[in-house]
């Protein structure tokens, strides 16, 4: 790729660095590993950039970020997995007073911990929808699954989140 191509790549893809990092952060659940994933994904994206035919560049980049994270997770799978999510146990643990926690700046932690505790197939739809604000159609394309599956996964993910978090105490926007 020539210098012009690289400049175009940077202009097109660097604005989505935060989105790329967020997705990687929630998929691998570690900030340092997420940074490695993002760098790897950008270099892969650079490599494939010539085959990129325009369209939604964020979705295109996130697809690569996701694949990078998945193959890395797959290679690491022999390491002990985190314990399965137990809603009843976490409900008690998480159901602190949100006001108090907000005062301590913990509400963000509470939410992100709840997302981290979701199984990966729920976690990624929640992150793409509620953190990245993508449409169901874009999510379907990134994950390579039908629209109806996006819908049902989100519904199940949100149901888990509702029982894990003290939603009753959250304000309405």
């Amino acid at each position: 790729m020539d210098a012009h191509g690289r400049t175009r790549f940077e202009q097109t893809m660097l604005p989505h660095l935060d989105a790329a990092y967020s997705l990687a952060r929630y998929l691998v659940r570690d900030e340092h590993d997420a940074e490695d994933m993002v760098q790897d994904a950008y270099l892969r994206a650079l490599r494939y950039f010539e085959s990129y035919r325009g369209g939604d560049e964020r979705a295109w980049l996130l697809t690569i970020v996701r694949r990078t994270c998945y193959s890395w997770l797959k290679r690491r799978r022999d390491r002990p997995a985190p314990a399965a999510f137990d809603e009843t146990e976490h409900a008690a643990e998480l159901a602190g007073d949100p006001e108090t926690q907000a005062v301590h700046g913990d509400l963000r932690d509470l939410l992100s911990r709840a997302v981290d505790d979701l199984p990966i197939e729920f976690r990624e739809v929640v992150v793409l929808r509620d953190v990245q604000d993508l449409s169901y159609k874009e999510i379907a394309r990134i994950l390579g699954i039908p629209l109806g599956t996006v819908m049902s996964r989100l519904a199940r993910a949100r149901r888990r989140l509702q029982s894990a978090l003290p939603v009753e105490d959250f304000g309405r926007a």
Partner: protein
């Protein structure tokens, strides 16, 4: 409430504004009658609001931004240093440069050592060795993971201007792991991945008019390479497998056609 079941998966889509008109009318009619679902919708709204407020995309650090820019620029510098400007993009040398950049950027020193090792050897062998190492360490061993050669072989159709053989060697102790499209000498190249005990073998295949028996090509710090050609195909196997077994593997692969 039995009638809630149909609405169950629609409630999230309704809150997200992703439900089509007809569905919206149905959900709204149901919500008027069903306090339980109405509560859930209310909960979803609060949940969404909380996420939006507190979980906006995590900002990437300035260090990461700088690192990514630097990695892109480094890939460019390497490209500029090799090959003529305006020539076809992604010459072999650039792939090597990129492999090196990724190795350094992502994994650090050990990979750099491997890369330097690859660079010291002859160009094609170095390229194959680098591709082998990259496949093991950059989470890209296969594009089509499958132990079924009826799955692996057709996968290459349309991706290459030749149809690579996918030797069946399972009964001989070389299990098929999958196939991958790699780049060797500036061309898309078929790689069939096999496993023997805990060893991974990358078998690179491309068209060739030569006829050569399987011979050891190069041994370098634990990596062995065996080359053979026949029946219109060149075979290059790279692995940390014992060289005798690797030669036997290439022999069998060539005979299995």
């Amino acid at each position: 409430m039995a009638q809630c079941e149909g609405f169950d998966i629609q409630l999230s889509a309704y809150v997200d504004g992703e439900l089509e008109e007809l569905g919206v009318a149905g959900v709204e009619a149901h919500l008027k009658e069903c306090p339980a679902c109405a509560r859930r919708v209310e909960g979803e709204r609060r949940l969404r609001a909380a996420f939006r407020k507190h979980l906006a995309p995590v900002r990437a650090s300035e260090e990461l931004r700088a690192d990514v820019r630097e990695a892109i620029a480094a890939a460019g510098r390497q490209a500029a240093a090799s090959g003529k400007p305006g020539a076809r993009p992604w010459r072999a040398a650039q792939w090597l440069a990129l492999a090196a950049t990724i190795a350094v950027a992502v994994l650090g020193g050990r990979q750099w050592a491997l890369w330097s090792l690859a660079r010291r050897t002859a160009p094609l062998e170095a390229e194959l060795l680098t591709a082998h190492v990259r496949s093991l360490q950059l989470s890209h061993l296969t594009d089509v993971p499958s132990s079924d050669h009826h799955t692996v072989k057709p996968w290459f159709a349309g991706k290459l201007d030749y149809s690579p053989p996918v030797p069946e060697l399972d009964s001989l102790g070389f299990r098929l792991i999958g196939g991958r499209l790699d780049y060797v000498r500036d061309r898309p190249t078929a790689v069939i991945v096999y496993g023997r005990r805990q060893h991974i073998i990358n078998l690179f295949l491309w068209p060739s008019g030569d006829s050569t028996a399987a011979t050891k090509v190069e041994t370098d710090r634990g990596y062995n390479s065996v080359h053979g050609a026949g029946g219109g195909i060149a075979y290059w196997a790279i692995s940390d497998l014992d060289v005798t077994e690797l030669r036997q593997f290439v022999d069998l692969a060539m005979k299995s056609r």
